[in-house]
């Protein structure tokens, strides 16, 4: 067994396909996650991220192709695979009548043991009160149970499916720290997300999924290239400056005193250009993944129309 463990990659899929009736949720996905890396799995809602994860966890049987975890077949040898991983779902459902500490006990023991000191530390860091009953926890606190249960067993592989939904920003920072520490310990992390910023903050490598197909696998650098911001400026008075020549600025549109544009890279030049003018309002936001896909990959036939 250990021989195969050494040889197998944490996650390896080959032509992984999943159909539900006539719907193809996942279409020939082939990815390989290397040991010790933090692998981002990015895609808009409905792209097939959760379907991939369910196949990797042996919860769903592939229609075609295969998934392997440390060399074990994710479906037929799922119990061997489970020994090496821990999973955090997007919406952890607690047992309504069990208390937080009881759930942590249960999950730790079912996994075959856990690091008790680490568990205490994690509860502290996430400011988690383990004495309440499952039904009393808020959305964010439910996620904390799943996160603590996953990190405290020190698995070789962490499979995280949009794990930070409902967490407040401070806790999100704590989560990122935990992921960093996992990397330092040599653990592998598979992080599925629809938030560009989250993936950008922690991942070494990123796969981008759309409509069940792999669009791109790349490093953080490649991703930075993707990451642009949408800027909306309202000027106080009429002559609106021409911003299209400013470094990093694209797609300038003007409507009266209002200008919208897309900004890549540092906002430095833009800020400088604006300094000479009377700005009434300035709004910068990160575009949604769906918008990014429309910008960079075209509508590709199947894509939904732009919602605004």
């Amino acid at each position: 067994m250990s021989g195969r463990e050494q040889s197998g990659k944490p996650i390896e899929t080959a032509g992984l396909t999943k159909r539900f009736g006539s719907l193809t949720a996942l279409d020939g996905l082939t990815i390989a996650v290397e040991r010790g890396e933090i692998y981002g799995f990015l895609g808009p809602n409905g792209a097939g991220k959760t379907t991939t994860i369910r196949a990797v966890l042996g919860l769903a049987k592939p229609t075609a192709g295969s998934a392997r975890v440390f060399g074990f077949d994710a479906w037929s040898e799922r119990q061997d695979a489970h020994r090496h991983l821990a999973f955090v779902p997007g919406e952890f459902a607690p047992w309504p009548t069990l208390r937080g500490h009881e759930m942590l006990d249960l999950l730790g023991h079912v996994h075959g043991g856990y690091d008790a000191a680490l568990r205490v530390r994690l509860c502290d860091r996430f400011e988690f009160d383990p004495t309440k009953k499952g039904r009393e926890y808020s959305k964010g606190n439910r996620q904390k149970i799943a996160l603590i249960a996953a990190f405290m067993v020190r698995p070789d592989l962490l499979v995280l499916d949009e794990p930070t939904s409902g967490l407040d920003p401070l806790m999100e920072i704590e989560f990122r720290r935990c992921v960093e520490e996992a990397r330092e310990q040599g653990q592998t992390v598979f992080l599925s997300s629809h938030l560009l910023s989250e993936v950008e903050a922690v991942c070494d490598r990123v796969a981008i999924l759309r409509s069940g197909r792999l669009v791109e696998v790349g490093t953080l650098e490649d991703l930075r290239e993707l990451n642009s911001q949408e800027v909306e400026i309202e000027f106080a008075a009429a002559p609106v400056p021409d911003l299209s020549t400013v470094a990093g600025v694209q797609d300038v549109e003007q409507e009266g005193n209002r200008v919208t544009l897309r900004l890549r890279g540092s906002p430095n030049e833009l800020v400088r250009a604006l300094a000479a003018h009377d700005v009434r309002d300035l709004d910068i936001r990160e575009p949604s993944l769906e918008e990014l896909f429309l910008t960079y990959y075209g509508s590709d036939g199947a894509a939904p129309p732009r919602s605004t």
């Binding site: 919860l59 119990q79 489970h82 020994r83 069990l98 009881e102 249960l106 999950l107 079912v110």
Partner: protein, 525 residues
């Protein structure tokens, strides 16, 4: 006003349903009595035979003028409906008084200008309006059924008293404790005690005065058609006013969200939960306790009625004939009646077995099965643990049923052996296991149909047995129902062959279900 409408929205459905049910019960009760006992002579004979049966007096109330339509309907349905309406009112009151505070909704209501006391009184008025609906429905049904108008109005009031008193009791318990469940539990305990006191007063010959100590005894003394009195209604009104006043007084003295008695101290579990088996056991104990109490009370009542029913069967050969037609044996002996009673236990245990798989499916749908399976439990182990816990629970329920029937029978003076009762109870277990096995099969192969198979199969089989027996359906149809193959134990010996077949089917269906479960996708939602 906004608050009134908000509270009404939470209670009107239940109020309307129970008002409709009460009206139907009254209307059909009048019709049934008139068709079953058309002549004055037959009514007198009925009244004489009923008067000899103390268990019936305890269960439904004292028989007063049951040889008249009004007297019969009051006796047979009055107390029963009062209890049901009381139960509805206490659940509705705790829901809007306590439940809204638990969910935090009350804070937005109180954020407005209304004082807590005003909110409380408004919400109680809404529950009172629901009781008014029941009053109208009952009075209308009685009046339309041909009973005198004055008596019909009093009968409506009699039924509504339950809602008023126990709604007021719930208003007080909602101030004392901090969760809806506990508030309803405490109010329910008061209702149960009131009923027991009334049953004790009416079931015995020398404790009749005890009836004055319970609101249900007061309601009984309204006697709408046989000797109308307004005094009990005044007593109910006074008691309710005092309780509501106390609730309003207490409401001003506590924080929103808290109870005057403080939160319950957390009980420490005896054993920590470290495996799926321990988890399943902990998850099912609540349901097991609830089912056990229900089965124990129902079977105690059945056992308690044994002696009187046997007497009644002797007095009424027509009913006796019908029973013999359905079940193929007579119930004019204690064991005969008990065999019949345990036929119902078969259905109850089958539904319980099915419910275990429905809750397994709920675990899966919520995603909690994913959690323990990925954490390291094999699917086989997860399902087998569930089945094992279900088996233990079914055995416990069967034992409780036997105990209840045995105790009830012996309290009423019928001689039923404990071993006979246990034998009768465990005789029906294979049928329950058969339906449990089918539920496992459905869960494995057709998870989204689990609920339909788990509850539908047993219900259809039971209907086939009862309806087909009455209407003389073909033998193969009756044979299709597993319940038809249960020997009426202890009236006759156990049907070992049928038992073994049922167990074999249960085992095979469970094995198939387990195999299918290991091969399918886990499906949430």
């Amino acid at each position: 006003m906004n608050l009134t409408r908000f509270a009404w929205r939470q209670v009107w459905r239940g109020a309307l349903i129970w008002a409709a049910v009460a009206a139907i019960v009254v209307a059909s009760g009048i019709a049934a009595f008139e068709s079953a006992y058309p002549t004055a002579a037959s009514r007198e004979a009925f009244a004489r035979s009923i008067a000899r049966l103390p268990a019936f007096q305890a269960l439904y109330g004292r028989t007063i003028g049951v040889d008249t339509v009004g007297g019969f309907v009051t006796w047979r349905y009055g107390d029963l409906m009062t209890v049901v309406v009381g139960l509805w009112a206490l659940l509705a009151a705790t829901r809007i008084l306590r439940g809204d505070e638990e969910t935090g909704r009350a804070e937005s209501l109180l954020g407005g200008a209304a004082s807590p006391r005003r909110v409380l009184l408004t919400e109680l008025c809404v529950v009172g309006a629901g009781c008014g609906l029941v009053f109208l429905a009952v009075a209308l049904a009685a009046g339309v059924g041909g009973l005198p108008l004055g008596g019909s109005l009093l009968f409506g009031s009699l039924v509504a008293t339950g809602g008023v008193v126990f709604g007021a009791v719930a208003a007080v318990t909602s101030q004392l404790v901090d969760t809806r469940r506990r508030a309803a539990g405490w109010a329910g305990a008061v209702l149960g005690a009131s009923y027991l006191l009334r049953a004790l007063a009416d079931g015995s010959s020398d404790l009749h005065w005890l009836g004055w100590l319970t609101p249900l005894g007061w309601a009984e003394r309204i006697e709408p058609f046989t000797g109308p009195s307004l005094v009990p209604i005044a007593a109910v009104a006074a008691l309710s006013a005092v309780l509501v006043g106390a609730a309003a007084f207490l409401r001003e003295r506590r924080d929103t969200g808290a109870g005057l008695l403080g939160a319950r101290q957390h009980r420490r579990r005896v054993r920590p939960i470290r495996s799926t088996l321990a988890l399943d056991w902990s998850l099912s104990t609540g349901a097991l306790v609830a089912w056990s109490s229900g089965v124990a009370i129902a079977m105690f009542v059945m056992g308690y009625l044994t002696r009187d029913i046997v007497r009644f069967a002797h007095d009424n050969p027509a009913i006796e004939d019908q029973i013999t037609k359905i079940y193929g044996y007579s119930m004019n002996s204690a064991v005969g009646f008990l065999s019949l009673a345990f036929g119902v236990v078969a259905l109850v245990l089958a539904v319980f077995a099915g419910a275990q798989m429905v809750s397994a499916r709920e675990e899966e749908a919520a995603g909690r099965t994913d959690t323990v399976v990925v954490a390291g439990t094999s699917r086989a182990r997860w399902l087998v643990a569930r089945i094992a816990v279900a088996l233990v629970a079914i055995a416990a329920l069967a034992l409780v049923a036997a105990l209840g029937a045995w105790a009830g029978a012996n309290v009423s003076g019928a001689s039923v052996g404990f071993v006979d009762a246990v034998e009768a109870s465990f005789n029906v277990v294979p049928a329950a296991l058969l339906f449990g096995g089918l539920a496992v099969l459905a869960f494995g192969a057709l998870p989204r149909a689990t609920t339909y198979v788990a509850f539908g199969a047993a219900a259809v089989a039971y209907l086939i047995q009862v309806v087909a027996g009455l209407s003389g359906a073909p033998g193969w149809l009756i044979d299709l129902s597993p319940f038809s193959h249960l020997a009426p134990v202890p009236a006759t010996p156990v049907n070992t062959g049928a038992m073994l077949v049922m167990l074999a089917v249960a085992l095979a269906a469970s094995a198939l279900g387990l195999a299918a479960f290991r091969r399918r996708d886990l499906a949430s939602g």
